[in-house]
C-alpha cells in the first residue's frame, strides 16, 4: 500500500479530505488551489469515470512537478470530449497526434524538453484502446528505451467513444457491440485479453502501478511516487463508464470500489518488475455484487439458475486476491 492510512477517527483517509487531519494528510483534490488541469465544460457523459481519473492524475502530477508538465494524449474519449475545436478543457500544455502514437510523441516531447533544459516532465495518456491495442507497439518501444515519460492508461474496458466495442482490456463475459450476449458463450470470450500492468512489468520498468478512482489517497500517492522516478513509468487507472457498462450515472465511484473489493481489479505497485506492495481489500464482496450492477453482465443473471460463468469470474477474482495478497491472513472467501 503506497499511501499511509490514518485510521483512528471518523472517516480517516477514506474521504477526499478531512478537517481533522493536517494538510499533509489531505489529498490534492481536497485543496482549494488544485490545478483543475481538466476543467469544467468538457463534454464527457454524466458520471464519467475517465474525466475524474484524468483530473486526479494530472492535478497530482501538477503539484508534484510544480506545474512544469506537458501532457500528450492518444485518440479516444478523453481527447474527444475535452477538445472539440475551438475549445479545450485542458489547463496545461497538451498535445494530440494520432490514436496509436501517443507514447512515441511523448518520447519526442521528452527529448525536446531535455534539450530545452527546463526540467519539464511529460505525461502520456490514453484509454485502454489506445494503450493496449492500437498504441501498444509505440508504448512497448517507449518502455524498452526507458524514455522519461509517465504513461497513464485510463481503463474503461472498451472503445466507448465509438460505440462500446471490445478491446483487449474488456473482461470475459462482458457484452459489447462486437461481443454480443448470444450463443453458447455470450459476451467476450474467456482466455482473451491481456494485462498491461504485467506486460509493463515484463519490460522491467522502474515503476508500474494500478490505481482506481474510488481510492483517491492511494491514487495520488502512486502518481506522486511515479513522478519521483526518472525513465519510463506506467500507471493503469480503473475508470468505470456508466454508458458502456450500463449503470446509473451516480454509481461510478461505487462500481470502482466494488471492482477492487471483489478482487477483479487488484491495486498494486511494482518496482523494477517486482510487485512490492498491494492495497488490501477493506470489505470483501463476492463478484456478484459488482457484476449485477452492470447491464453488460445482465445475461449472467437473467435465468433462475446461478450462471457457471459467475463462478469462473469469481475464480479470477480469487486468483488475483491470492496472487497480489489482497486480503490479510489466509485470504478467506467473502
Amino acid at each position: 500500500m503506497s499511501s499511509q492510512r490514518i485510521k483512528f477517527y471518523q472517516t480517516g483517509t477514506f474521504t477526499v479530505g478531512n478537517r481533522l487531519l493536517d494538510d499533509s494528510h489531505r489529498t490534492v483534490q481536497a485543496s482549494m488551489t488544485r490545478a483543475n488541469a481538466l476543467t469544467s465544460g468538457h463534454r464527457a457523459c454524466q458520471g464519467c469515470g475517465e474525466a475524474l481519473g484524468a483530473r486526479y492524475v494530472l492535478d497530482t502530477a501538477m503539484r508534484a512537478t510544480g506545474g512544469n508538465l506537458i501532457a500528450v494524449n492518444a485518440t479516444g474519449c478523453l481527447e474527444v470530449f475535452t477538445t472539440p475545436s475551438p475549445e479545450t478543457a485542458w489547463q496545461l500544455p497538451w498535445l494530440h497526434s494520432l490514436f496509436g502514437n501517443a507514447a512515441a510523441v511523448a518520447t519526442g516531447v521528452a527529448a525536446a524538453m531535455r534539450v530545452k533544459g527546463k526540467g519539464t516532465r511529460v505525461i502520456a495518456q490514453g484509454g485502454d484502446g489506445g494503450t493496449t491495442d492500437i498504441g501498444f507497439g509505440c508504448l512497448s518501444g517507449m518502455f524498452e528505451r526507458n524514455d522519461d515519460v509517465l504513461y497513464v492508461c485510463y481503463d474503461n474496458e472498451g472503445y466507448m467513444n465509438t460505440g462500446v466495442q471490445r478491446s483487449s482490456a474488456t473482461p470475459p463475459a462482458a457484452r459489447t457491440a462486437t461481443t454480443p450476449a448470444v450463443g453458447a458463450e455470450p459476451g467476450n470470450p474467456f482466455g482473451t485479453g491481456k494485462s498491461l500492468p504485467l506486460l509493463a512489468m515484463a519490460h522491467r520498468l522502474p515503476y508500474v502501478a494500478t490505481a482506481s478512482v474510488f481510492d483517491l489517497h492511494d491514487l495520488e500517492a502512486k502518481v506522486t511516487r511515479a513522478m519521483g522516478f526518472g525513465g519510463a513509468r506506467y500507471l493503469h487507472v480503473f475508470v468505470p463508464c456508466p454508458l458502456g457498462w450500463g449503470f446509473a450515472t451516480d454509481r461510478t465511484i461505487e462500481l470502482a470500489r466494488l471492482a477492487a473489493e471483489c478482487g477483479l481489479f487488484p491495486l498494486f505497485e511494482a518496482i523494477d518488475g517486482e510487485v512490492t506492495s498491494s492495497t488490501p481489500i477493506r470489505r470483501r464482496v463476492p463478484v456478484d455484487a459488482y457484476l449485477r450492477a452492470q447491464k453488460r453482465f445482465a445475461h449472467l443473471f437473467d435465468g433462475d439458475q446461478a450462471d457457471p460463468v459467475v463462478v469462473r469470474l469469481q475464480a479470477l477474482a480469487d486468483d488475483n486476491i491470492r496472487r497480489f495478497k489482497l486480503v490479510d491472513g489466509a485470504g478467506g472467501r467473502p
Binding site: F8, V16, M32, D250, R251, I253
Partner: protein, 543 residues
C-alpha cells in the same frame, strides 16, 4: 490578430460550454435531524457539540451544550441517554458514547472554572422559580440568560432536588451537583433555601413576580398497607435516601433489607443498603424482568453488587425478622395474578419503593389550575397552567420522570415565559426531516469500537459511596467524539468537492461548506451517492 500558418481560430476554453443545460436533476445540500438530537429530552444539539469536540475545541463544545442544558457534568452521569439508544452508529458497531463525552466536557468545565455565558441585557421582569431541582435550575438558568431577574425558592436546606435527595452519590457525586448549581447562582440567580411556598399566587403577588415556574417534583411516597408486627420496620424509599443525605436521623436498616418495587428508586435503595452495611439486599417485584421499569444498566450494576431480586412476588406481611411473600403468575393480559402460594424470606426492614406522587398542596387553591386523574398538574403545550403566568414542569406534569425530561421542561418553560413576559408567543423552529441510517454511505467511516469507561473495583463499590463509573481522559473522549457519523449534516469531508467529474462543486473554505456550480453540474449524482452522511439530495429539475 495575425495567426500562424493554417490557424484560423483562437483557442477557446471549455468554460464557454455550460454543461448545466444537460441536467435533469440537481444536487442540493440539506441538513437533517440526527436521531441523537431528535430523541434528547433536553433538546440538546448533540451532533453540534460533538462536532466541536471532534476538533478538540472543548470549550466551544461545552458552550454548545450550555445553549440547551446548564448541567453537563450531572447529565453525563445521571441521564439515561436515549440519544445512544437511537444512535445510527449502533447499526455499524456500537453507539457513540455520548454521555461519556458530555461528562468529560462537564468535568473539564468545572476543573477549568469556565463561567456560564453572560446574561442578555436586563429586562426588568421578575420570575419566581419554585423548586431547586433540575427543572427549576434549568428554567432559572435560561431565564437569567435571557435577562430576567430570577429567584428560586426551595423547601429543602440545600439545592438540587432529586439530584441531591434522590440519586445516590455513587452515581452522582455531590461536588459535581454543587459546582453546577454554583455556576447558575453566579449568573445572578437568587437562591432562597428552606422556604416552602404554599400559596403560589400570594408568593407571586407579594414578591412582585411577573411570572412563576413551579417544579417541586414528586416526592410523596406511595404506600400500600402491609400488616406488620412493628410498623417502624417499614420505611419509604425517598425518606431513606434523604436520611442518607443527612436529613434527620441516620437510617437504621438492619442487616437484611427487603426493597419492594421495580423502578430505579428500588435499585438505588438496594444498592445504598449494601453500602450502608446490609449483608442482604433483596428486591421484591411483582412482575418479570422484562416489565421492570428500572433502567437495564442499573439492574445489571445492582446484580453485580450482589443485590438479589425476587421476580413475580408481592409482600403480604412483615413479621419479626421475616416477611411473607406471595408468588404471582402472569395473566393472559400480562398483568400479575396472585397464585396463593406463600413463602417466607428473611428481612429486618422493608423499604417501599412503589413510586412517588406530586404534592399538589401549593396548587390546590389556585384559580384555573386543573389536575389530571393520576394527580399531575395539567399544562398546555407551553407548560402554562390555567392560571396566567404560572407555569409547571418536571415530575409535576405528565411526562417521563427523568432528570433529562426535567431539564428539558426547564428550558421549554423559560422560552415560553420569556415570550409571555414580552407579550408574544414562542414558536419553536420547524424540525428538519430525520437522518436515517439508510441515508449514510458507511464505507467511508473508520472502524472504531466504543471506548469503555473505567469502573470502580467491586470491593470499593459495595463498601463506599465512591462514584462507580470513572470518566474518560482527553484522548479517549476525543476518540469517542470522533466516532460520530454526523448523520444528515455536512462535516466538510470534501468528498463532493473531490468526486465531481465536472469540477462543479465549489469549496467555500473551512466552516463555510460548499456550493454547486449549476452552470456546469450535469446532474450525474455521484456527489450525493458518495456523501458519507447523506447531506446531499438530488431534486428533479423542472423541464
Amino acid at each position: 490578430m495575425k495567426k500562424p500558418f493554417a490557424i484560423t481560430l483562437d483557442p477557446g476554453s471549455s468554460l464557454h460550454n455550460h454543461t448545466g443545460s444537460w441536467r435533469t436533476q440537481r444536487p442540493t445540500y440539506v441538513d437533517r435531524l440526527p436521531p441523537c438530537n431528535a430523541t434528547c429530552p433536553a433538546g440538546e444539539d448533540v451532533q453540534r457539540w460533538l462536532y466541536h469536540a471532534e476538533a478538540g475545541d472543548y470549550r466551544a463544545a461545552w458552550e454548545a451544550i450550555l445553549d440547551d442544558n446548564p448541567l453537563p457534568a450531572v447529565m453525563g452521569r445521571a441521564c439515561y441517554h436515549t440519544c445512544e439508544g437511537a444512535c445510527n452508529r449502533a447499526q455499524l458497531d456500537e453507539a457513540v458514547g455520548i454521555h461519556a463525552v458530555e461528562r468529560f466536557l462537564g468535568d473539564l468545565a468545572i476543573r477549568e472554572g469556565w463561567p456560564a455565558p453572560a446574561p442578555a441585557a436586563a429586562t426588568g421582569k421578575r420570575v419566581l422559580v419554585v423548586g431547586a431541582g433540575p427543572s427549576g435550575l434549568a428554567a432559572a438558568y435560561h431565564l437569567a440568560r435571557l435577562g430576567h431577574d430570577v429567584t428560586i425558592r426551595d423547601a429543602m436546606p440545600r439545592a438540587g432536588g432529586m439530584m441531591r435527595y434522590g440519586i445516590p452519590r455513587y452515581r452522582l457525586p455531590r461536588e459535581i451537583v454543587d459546582a453546577e448549581i454554583e455556576r447558575i447562582v453566579t449568573m445572578g440567580v437568587r437562591l432562597e433555601l428552606g422556604v416552602r411556598v404554599d400559596d403560589l399566587p400570594a408568593a407571586m403577588r407579594d414578591g412582585g413576580f411577573d411570572a412563576c415556574f413551579a417544579a417541586v417534583g414528586a416526592h410523596l411516597a406511595k404506600r400500600v398497607d402491609i400488616p406488620a408486627a412493628d410498623a417502624g420496620k417499614i420505611l419509604d424509599a425517598i425518606g431513606l435516601l434523604r436520611q442518607v443525605e443527612g436529613l434527620g436521623d441516620a437510617p437504621l436498616l438492619g442487616r437484611r433489607v427487603v426493597v419492594y418495587g421495580g423502578g430505579n428508586t428500588a435499585l438505588d435503595v438496594a444498592r445504598t443498603a449494601k453500602r450502608l452495611g446490609a449483608t442482604d439486599a433483596v428486591i421484591v417485584y411483582r412482575r418479570t424482568q422484562a416489565q421492570m421499569p428500572a433502567h437495564e444498566d442499573e439492574l445489571r450494576e445492582a446484580l453485580e453488587e450482589g443485590v438479589l431480586v425476587r421476580w413475580l412476588s408481592t409482600v403480604k406481611e412483615m413479621g419479626e425478622g421475616e416477611l411473607t411473600i406471595e408468588k404471582m403468575t402472569l395473566g393472559a393480559d400480562g398483568k400479575p395474578v396472585p397464585t396463593g402460594e406463600l413463602e417466607t424470606i428473611a428481612g429486618d426492614t422493608l423499604v417501599l419503593a412503589l413510586g412517588q406522587a406530586v404534592d399538589l398542596t401549593p396548587l390546590r387553591a389556585v384559580p384555573g389550575v386543573r389536575f389530571t386523574p393520576d394527580g399531575s398538574v395539567e399544562v398546555g403545550p407551553d407548560l402554562m397552567t390555567g392560571y396566567p403566568g404560572l407555569f409547571c414542569g418536571g415530575d409535576m406534569v405528565p411526562a417521563d420522570r427523568t432528570i433529562t425530561v426535567a431539564v428539558g421542561h426547564g428550558k421549554k418553560a423559560a422560552r415560553h415565559i420569556d415570550a409571555y413576559l414580552r407579550g408574544g408567543a414562542y414558536e419553536p423552529a420547524a424540525k428538519h426531516a430525520p437522518a436515517g441510517f439508510d441515508r449514510l454511505n458507511t464505507w467511508y467511516y473508520v472502524d472504531a469500537d466504543r471506548t469503555v469507561q473505567p469502573q470502580l473495583e467491586m470491593a470499593r463499590r459495595v463498601g463506599t459511596f465512591a462514584e462507580v463509573h470513572g470518566g474518560l481522559d482527553e484522548t479517549t473522549a476525543l476518540f469517542e467524539a470522533r466516532r460520530c457519523l454526523s448523520c444528515g449534516n455536512c462535516f466538510e469531508c470534501d468528498n463532493c468537492f473531490g468526486v465531481c467529474p465536472d469540477n462543479a462543486v465549489i469549496k467555500l473554505g473551512p466552516g463555510k461548506r460548499f456550493r454547486f456550480d449549476l452552470d456546469f453540474c450535469k446532474g450525474c449524482g455521484v456527489c450525493a451517492r458518495e456523501c458519507p452522511c447523506g447531506a446531499i439530495e438530488m431534486v428533479a429539475e423542472e423541464i
